[in-house]
């Protein structure tokens, strides 16, 4: 049995990435994700890996693009304003079907915003973020353990489907220290016949590219990619259900908002309110199934978010607007308190249980 170690969320991501065989990291400093870069800067030179502080997030994501083209595992991390800059490169990764991991330890926005935790990049992450028809696989950890586990999972899924993956965390999780069992190190050897590694004059040249000047071709390429997205939507949604068996009110929350909500749900249960929670673990694909099922038995939904209300739209879509969905939120780096969530639960439950 692997032993538990006490680690910050950001460091757990970095170590888990190395253990997943990611030997290349590129980034540009920004709070609150700097521990990832610092960890990589320390570790990579000792294990024959590459840590490079790029001149900008734009350069960093394009370095990622270069490594991803060779088939090796590669990652970058940043926080909200930096992820906006990476948007171009992320779109190119998606358009060239390159696997890679992008970590966004979110802070409040828009603009320079603040440095406190936030979930206001939900739209950017789940709707693509850059230009064009594409999706990322997006996972939302709620603990340091999940930050480690999801890192490994993101690399696997990204390779499997040739779709870039994103971990959408926030400043609280990134800085939080918790005991974690790190994944076992893997001896990752790429097997990617499409990769650019030099032809050795033995095969036709490989091309990493997202340009299709003929619209028919571009359409076909997008169709093909969306077939893969369909498979992801069928096979990969992940979620946690908490006290949902008899729930009449359903809280929807991910990441740090889910942790706060759990406390509020316990308090509400103590008062006899039948409330539970569905916590999306993958934000894309969004776990539609449990929400659709819950819409048949719960009378109300509450989306608890650290934003002005973004995931709420997915909850409404997944429940087909059959039940009212209210928003319980704080923004700009503020976190809803368990009391605020409890208030929202009571209101949704109808005041009298």
């Amino acid at each position: 049995m692997a032993e538990k170690v006490l680690m910050k969320g950001n460091e757990a991501i970095a170590e888990a990435a190395i253990r997943a065989g990611c030997m290349h990291y590129f980034g540009y400093p920004i709070t609150p994700q700097t521990e990832i870069a610092a960890y990589m800067a320390k570790r990579m030179p000792k294990i024959g890996g590459v840590f490079l502080q790029a001149e900008s997030e734009i350069a960093a994501i394009n370095m990622v693009y270069g490594v991803a083209g060779t088939g090796l595992r590669v990652m970058t991390s940043s926080s909200s304003p930096g992820v906006s800059l990476k948007g171009e490169g992320i779109s190119y990764l998606a358009g060239s079907d390159l696997p890679a991991l992008i970590v966004n330890v979110q802070r409040g926005g828009p603009g320079l915003g603040g440095i406190q935790p936030s979930q206001s990049d939900y739209f950017q992450a789940t709707r693509g973020g850059g230009h064009g028809d594409y999706h990322l696989i997006v996972m939302a950890p709620a603990s340091v353990q999940e930050m480690a586990d999801m890192t490994a999972k993101c690399f696997d899924l990204s390779d499997k489907y040739r779709v870039p993956a994103m971990i959408l965390a926030d400043g609280t999780l990134g800085q939080m220290m918790e005991p974690v069992v790190l994944p076992e190190p893997t001896d990752y050897k790429p097997n990617k016949p499409w990769a650019v590694t030099g032809t050795e004059c033995k095969r036709k040249h490989n091309i990493i590219n997202s340009l299709y000047l003929k619209p028919e071709q571009l359409e076909q390429t997008n169709f093909e990619r969306y077939e893969r997205y369909k498979a992801i939507e069928e096979n990969e949604p992940l979620w946690e259900e908490f006290m949902m068996e008899d729930a009449e009110v359903c809280v929807a929350a991910f990441g740090i908002a889910a942790r706060v909500s759990k406390n509020a749900i316990m308090a509400a249960r103590a008062e006899g309110i039948k409330v539970g929670m569905i916590r999306p673990i993958t934000l894309w694909p969004f776990p539609k199934k449990p929400f659709k099922a819950a819409a048949d038995k719960c009378k109300a939904f509450i989306s608890v978010e650290l934003s002005m209300g973004q995931m709420i739209e997915d909850v409404q879509l997944a429940t087909e607007c059959k039940r009212p969905v209210t928003l319980c939120n704080r923004t700009g780096g503020m976190i809803p308190s368990p009391e605020e969530v409890l208030e929202a639960i009571k209101k949704a439950a109808g005041g009298n249980k």
């Binding site: 590459v50 734009i58 370095m63 693009y65 171009e88 030099g198 040249h205 490989n206 990493i208 590219n209």
Partner: protein, 251 residues
């Protein structure tokens, strides 16, 4: 003009899409010949720009990557860091390298990233139909400087080779041209050296090739080559701007 004998192995059979008289074709050929002569085709990976040479990935027979506009040096950095034994080159226009991608260019140079950069300076944005480039000459008429480049409002052209040569980082910077046989031969030698440097692990080598764009300059191919001689080269003098291993800087 380049003498046509045999197609280099490092070029595919795909017909080039460049306009008649465009010197992109010659430069492709010189790069391919250098790769052939150094026998590195099997381990070379090229990075195509966004610009007229965007389809270079179809023309070079080695593995190729198409980069976002201006990002080729960052993509090449990723490739080289992942595969240090391979030979990585970028092929970029002036808009790509000296405008939108200036940061990537300067930082790859200052890191002395062990890559080869072929920089095609044709003083205009070719692909998008002839807009002003960072290297358009003072007074040069383009689609977006219809009254001629007015240095008082849009500033002066950037001399990339001179500028990069002020950095401690890069190994080798040379400006060449391909407007006559003599210059083509010198360009060939420079390009080959830029690859040889990489093979020897010396670091960042950039060859600025003063090129022509008859279509968007609104000239016949012949007139365009004359313009290169009369206008471009005086503003962009040919020569070696940095050669660290030779341990001297000359012009």
């Amino acid at each position: 003009m380049a003498v046509v004998f045999q197609k280099p192995k490092s070029l595919t059979d795909a017909p080039l899409h460049y306009c008649p008289g465009c010197t992109h074709g010659i430069i492709h050929r010189l790069v391919a010949e250098a790769i052939d002569e150094l026998q590195i085709e099997g381990k070379t990976i090229g990075v195509a720009p966004v610009g007229c040479a965007v389809m270079a990935y179809d023309y070079f027979a080695c593995d190729m990557v198409e980069a976002a506009h201006g990002r080729a040096p960052a993509v090449a950095t990723g490739l080289k860091r992942a595969l240090p034994e391979n030979i990585i080159f970028t092929y970029q226009g002036d808009g790509d390298l000296a405008s939108i991608g200036m940061a990537e260019t300067v930082h790859a140079a200052t890191r002395n990233e062990n890559i080869t950069v072929i920089f095609v300076n044709n003083a205009i944005y070719g692909m998008t139909g002839g807009q002003m480039a960072p290297t358009s000459l003072p007074g040069q008429v383009t689609q977006t400087s219809p009254y001629g480049r007015d240095t008082a409002t849009v500033g002066f052209p950037i001399r990339v080779s001179e500028m990069l040569a002020t950095l401690d980082g890069p190994e080798f910077i040379q400006r060449v041209a391909v407007n006559n046989v003599k210059n083509v031969n010198a360009a060939k030698k420079a390009i080959k050296k830029a690859f040889q440097n990489q093979i020897e692990g010396k670091g960042f080598s950039l060859i600025e090739v003063v090129s022509s764009c008859p279509t968007n300059w609104g000239m016949t191919p012949k007139k365009a080559l004359e313009w290169v001689e009369e206008k471009m080269i005086p503003y962009y003098p040919l020569g070696v701007y940095k050669d660290r291993s030779a341990n001297k800087e000359e012009k």
